[in-house]
Amino acid sequence: MNDAEEDIPIVPPEPGEVGLVEPHDFVHAQPFTFESGQVLPGFTLRYETYGRLNAARDNTVVICHALSGDHHCAGIHALTDAKPGWWNNFIGPGKAIDTNQFFVLCANVLGGCQGSSGPSSTDPRTGRPFGLAFPFVTIRDMVHAQKLLCDHLGLASLAAVIGGSMGGMLVLQWGIEYPAFVRRLIPLATTARESAQAIAFNEVGRQAIMQDPEWNHGDYPKGGGPRVGLAVARMMAHITYLSDESMDQKFGRRRTKRLTPATSGLPPAGANAPAAYTFDVQFEVESYLRHQGESFINRFDANSYLYITRALDHFDLTAAHGSLEQAFAAVEAGTLSVAFTSDWLFPSAQNREIVLALLRAGKRASYAELATNLGHDSFLLESEDLYTLVRSFLGSPRSP
């Protein structure tokens, strides 16, 4: 009501690309104690950086990836790469996170399987993968390890920490653990407390893995393991990242062009029946989920999936600190929380609760909600509104 006139239009610079990038390994050669009390003699984090660190060493934006994400969030590794990093639309010269201005750092989480230490890493004591001998990992452990990486890189402070879903949990934990080190927090599509529904979905995924005989109590060779179980876990989880509306738009009831056997290596299910009356893949949505499952097993480790989903389940800032207000009592950073209306995995109410608790604790926190129909995965969507919001927050005049 107070301002009927339009703001000066925002003219973002012409966005460019990060281009060719390469991952690096940070090897922490000293003992690392996990929240569980378990100790590793050392660990490795694989990470990428884009842009330049300024002279004051205080222009870093840390990107925190989600459950199945990794350190490769922008650019390409080779000119022949089919796809760039997972958040390439967001990060780059002139983009929402402008690499002309910020030094961007993204590390694969501790417990992951894309180059950072995790259950698929080799246990120096046995020469075989750790499997279940790897210590239990929490969101806090992941953040502690990332802070050691920041110290190794000689960073004076962080301009911002941003991430969606599990990445948003890391963002909140960053603000709590290292209040003086972080100036801005941007948690997207996340929660301060994993809900029963989210735990339930994780448990179904874990059961699919652990009930696969190939899992063998986590003891399987590299490249082997519960491929069927992991694919089923991924198929199920993927549904929770979408929405009824977006699936209907994308697939509807469309049929696949050719029938694929429902189970590989076996004769078509219902072999004596006419083709349309079998359990072979018939709908595009089935075919899509199968593709998701199959591509996942080639890049993800089943034990890592167990460890990281367990870390999500244990994330509960309220229980860890007595109340959410107490959890945020130490936070010094300004926060921008963004939720998406169609996200039913981490619904907007859970994101609102983060901001309300921060405000009750006397902190600076803004909340915005984007009307989308893409479900939880909306935080990855190409949205000028989201870009402008994040760019504005990162460049907002008053230091929060």
Binding site: M1, N2, D7, L356, R360, Y367, L389, P400
Partner: protein, 201 residues
């Protein structure tokens, strides 16, 4: 438009005079954060805005104003009694579905409440209704009936009666003539174009 910008400035200056430096201020229906930006610059308040629209929140964030996208009543319910030093409801009351509920909730969550509105009893509005038999149109209500949202206009007489009925104390009032500048002492419900109130419980 320029006239309106001038008028807004007067409104902001008065609210600025009433606000304690460094206090915690909540602006209901904060728009793009112009008022809070002004109060932050001139009074170093700890400002917080609430608005329903994403692009309004975006405008606030661009200015460095903290803002929350959502329903103002539900928002206030999330805070303990007297959490805010001042709750401002400027040119928003006529848009509310349940203005009494919002003002009473603001009086709970805030130590003081500032309400500002365009006086529907202003003589030019009466002329529009009485002689032309049409919805008032003026520099404030600029739109035709068919391009307007439902609004619930309020007059000075309506508002003072509401405060008396609910036992709300009016600690200060600023009643301005049609130019939104000159104080209006004579029959304000007829001659004041704009009214600002400071309320407590």
């Amino acid at each position: 438009m320029n006239k309106l910008v001038e008028k807004r400035t007067v409104d902001m200056q008065i609210i600025g005079d009433w606000v304690e430096p460094g206090s915690r201020v909540l602006d209901l229906g904060c728009g793009r954060g112009v008022l809070l930006d002004y109060l932050q610059q001139t009074k170093q308040v700890r400002g917080l805005g609430v608005d329903l629209d994403f692009h309004k929140i975006l405008g606030c964030v661009r200015r460095g104003v903290t803002a929350y996208q959502g329903d103002m009543e539900a928002f206030m319910r999330a805070f303990p009694d007297r959490f805010f030093d001042r709750v401002i409801c400027s040119r928003t009351v006529q848009e509310l579905a349940d203005p009494a509920a919002v003002i009473l909730e603001a009086l709970r969550a805030g130590r003081a409440v500032t309400v500002g509105f365009v006086n529907h009893g202003y003589w030019k509005n009466r002329v529009d209704a009485f002689f032309h038999g049409r919805k008032p149109r003026n520099p404030v209500y600029t739109t035709e009936w068919f391009e307007s949202r439902p609004a619930n206009p309020v007059s000075i007489a309506d508002f003072e009666r509401f405060c008396a009925a609910k036992g709300i104390t009016i600690t200060r009032r600023a009643l301005l003539r049609g130019d939104w500048h000159t104080p209006c002492g004579f029959r304000p419900n007829l001659f004041a174009g704009y009214a600002l109130y400071d309320l407590t419980r």
